[in-house]
Assembly symmetry: C2
Homo-oligomer: 447 residues x 2
């Protein structure tokens, strides 16, 4: 079979368009109703998607007066989705800056057991400065510090997930032996940020470890991804930018001795679908007409540091006013906004609308054929191994993709008709990682 | 209707008897299989139990060579159980010493939304010294320090759960107003242990707050319970001990201005049921014959600090060897073991068997009538508002209770035939707490 697309449904409450909750087809009253997400996960499973994906941050977003910018906690959400589905992968975001590694390791191991091998961890260092104040910190840790901690964090949780070898459980009622404790290991980690003895208090999970997903595209983020990521969620506005990123990541992975096929690059795509180009454009325009400047300007302010209230929205975006900020300079979303400004020279309102669609992700407006063509071009053009599909509103924005775009992709042989495996690693074509302690034992035995 | 019993099913992997996993009716291979717990929760719901209950500690127990002493992480577990049930309460244990309050508040608020108002939090300060080393601490915090932190912790999470008033969500697509931000509050907490700004990033949950459950019976524990607990899980070996505790807790509650009916006292009971007394005794003997000294002695060592390996198991328990330990002296389980020793003057083996049944909880061996009589005596004798039922093995130990004891309790008018409400607060007869910020607003308005 030819190389196949990987598709995740990225579920954002109210939809990815910032005014998606106001669209007539939305049901914003179901924002914290788990049955809403169970239905979506079942739809995505029926469509044979690889996974559903949830973002997260441990603080309330600014300006929720105008938008549904909060969600159920993702790990408890995917545990509840595991009970309502049987095949689809379940990816939850969690922060290396604001969660104790022992707690995080348990939560994901538990969900991997509960889902029988369908858990993925989207690793973030948490960019929102508000989070620090919910965790007793005066100031938000700087970008580089967060990544320093994240590297050590990955080392700790990886060792915890491997602290039980696969053969550790004996469960022999006759002899009275429940577990072979010679195959359960303390990890005795002491480092700059963490001191964790272990072992984890759970047997190794079906996938060995959850799938490591990562989303940062900064220099630090790329370096981190090359070392650890098995799937990367990334934001690109142009084919060229995605191609550069794709080639860079695969070559970095090779550079650290990894198989580049074992890092799936999945840009975000937010599709506005119409039976004609004009219809799709009208749909997109309707969404933009629902945006609210008070909200959109706040989003821009958080991305760029620039307060534009009081400016003429139909005047040019004042790029020269952006103050240099060494921490922000490395943030991928900041660079992406500057790229749009430099390339398109938009008015403030035009930039607001560009960002409103999917917070800086790729927005494609057109017929189902046009959407499928773009996906195929990126997929075959060295820009993507698949996509995080970001419906502008829910459920209709996803239903339209499944009903109209997916059959075209299938007809072209680009997407599966049926699952071939049971775990998220199976869907992504990723190996189950060898246990570190078993490997060490095998090396000792061979010496 | 007359006063009704409250019954929780306390689910311990492998059953509560330490050798329960070895019993012929057990299925120890399902220890980390969520469908095992979903079936149990459905059975408990069909029996109209108030709740299922999960213990927890963030470290691997010693000596798992001989027993199934680990479990799926409780919050993800009850999220998955919420999806498989619709009425039964879901109580998970979580630690105030080893979980960040913002994270814990989110997890429980999320589960309360997911379950539509069925979440309970069993608040523990974590007695296991091993936990400290999984969280970067050299030594385990002392008993009094842990409670000091717990008091402030309760203050923080309570404010977080109330940080959205009930009317904060507006969701008006027409005007574009999603939330009334004048009804969403920072909590601006700064104290000795925590500094948390808030607000929580979730709307107030169906129950307002999860039900506060608590299990410590030390002096610190009783004081804490009187202030915060809405249900207390407690261990007593005798009616007199349970009566003393019950009266003390209710009077302490009254002393701090609370309605004593809003604290439900629920001792543990582990029933060994036979159609005759002799049959029940034979069942209990069979379980004791499955215990393993290497394991049981380790349990005793953890409870008393005394290493008895090498001693004659059929000689008297050497009470005089127990070293004074100011921290341990306050631990409720330590005092309970000493009480058994002083009252019953057991041999080491007899004490091992006393503890093996349910780690120090009340073990009742007898016919269904005898079990029902004991329950009724405690319930009507000022010793209990209900019980945490602790089956020696799963599922059979629970099935026997439901099949044989429950009909007797129902015939006597002591236990519900049907749920009368939908939330755990409804089942327990607890009020939905008034929101702190709404109360403050109402007071200001009245002035």
């Amino acid at each position: 079979m030819s190389r196949q697309l990987h598709l995740n449904l990225f579920i954002y409450p109210g939809g990815h368009h910032e005014a998606g909750w106001r669209y007539k087809g939305s049901d914003p009253h179901r924002t914290v109703d788990i049955s809403n997400y169970q239905e979506l996960a079942r739809k995505a499973e029926a469509a044979k998607f690889d996974a559903v994906f949830f973002a997260d941050g441990p603080a309330l977003a600014d300006n929720i007066r105008y938008a549904s910018r909060f969600r159920l906690e993702p790990l408890t959400t995917i545990a509840a989705l595991a009970a309502a589905t049987s095949r689809i992968g379940l990816i939850a975001t969690a922060s290396t800056t604001y969660t104790e590694p022992y707690n995080l390791a348990r939560l994901f191991a538990s969900v991997d057991h509960i889902s029988q091998g369908r858990a993925g961890w989207n690793i973030v260092t948490t960019g929102a400065a508000q989070a620090a104040q919910n965790f007793g910190l005066e100031a938000h840790p700087l970008h580089a510090d967060r990544y320093g901690r994240a590297h050590e964090y990955l080392e700790v949780v990886t060792k915890l997930w491997d602290s039980w070898e696969d053969e550790a459980l004996v469960i022999d009622p006759e002899s009275g032996i429940f577990a072979d404790d010679s195959r359960i290991h303390t990890i005795d980690h002491t480092g700059q940020h963490f001191s964790v003895k272990g072992p984890l208090n759970l047997p190794r999970s079906p996938q060995g470890r959850p799938v490591y997903v990562q989303a940062g595209s900064s220099e630090d983020g790329r370096h981190f991804a090359a070392l650890y990521a098995e799937a990367i969620f990334t934001a690109h506005q142009t084919l060229a930018s995605a191609q550069e990123f794709y080639a860079d990541i695969k070559s970095r992975a090779q550079g650290v001795g990894r198989n580049p096929d074992h890092i799936k690059v999945l840009p975000g795509i937010s599709p506005y679908i119409g039976s004609t180009t004009a219809e799709a454009q009208a749909l997109h325009d309707e969404f933009n007409s629902l945006t609210q400047p008070a909200y959109s300007l706040d989003v821009l302010k958080r991305m760029t540091g620039l307060d534009l209230s009081g400016h003429d929205l139909d005047g040019p975006f004042p790029r020269h006013l952006i103050a240099p900020d060494p921490d922000r300079a490395e943030a991928s979303r900041f660079k992406l906004v500057l790229d749009i400004v430099d390339r398109e020279k938009p008015t403030i309102r035009q930039l607001m609308h560009r960002i409103a669609g999917a917070r800086g992700h790729w927005v494609v407006v057109g017929t189902p054929e046009k959407i499928a063509d773009e996906i195929q071009t990126w997929f075959e053009g060295g820009a993507a191994d698949g996509f995080n599909v970001m419906p502008p509103w829910l459920h209709g924005g996803f239903d339209a993709f499944v009903e109209h775009v997916l059959p075209i992709l299938r007809k072209r042989g680009l997407f599966r008709d049926e699952y071939s495996g049971r775990t998220l690693r199976d869907h992504f074509g990723l190996p189950r990682p060898e246990n570190l302690f078993t490997a060490r034992r095998n090396i000792s035995a061979a010496e």
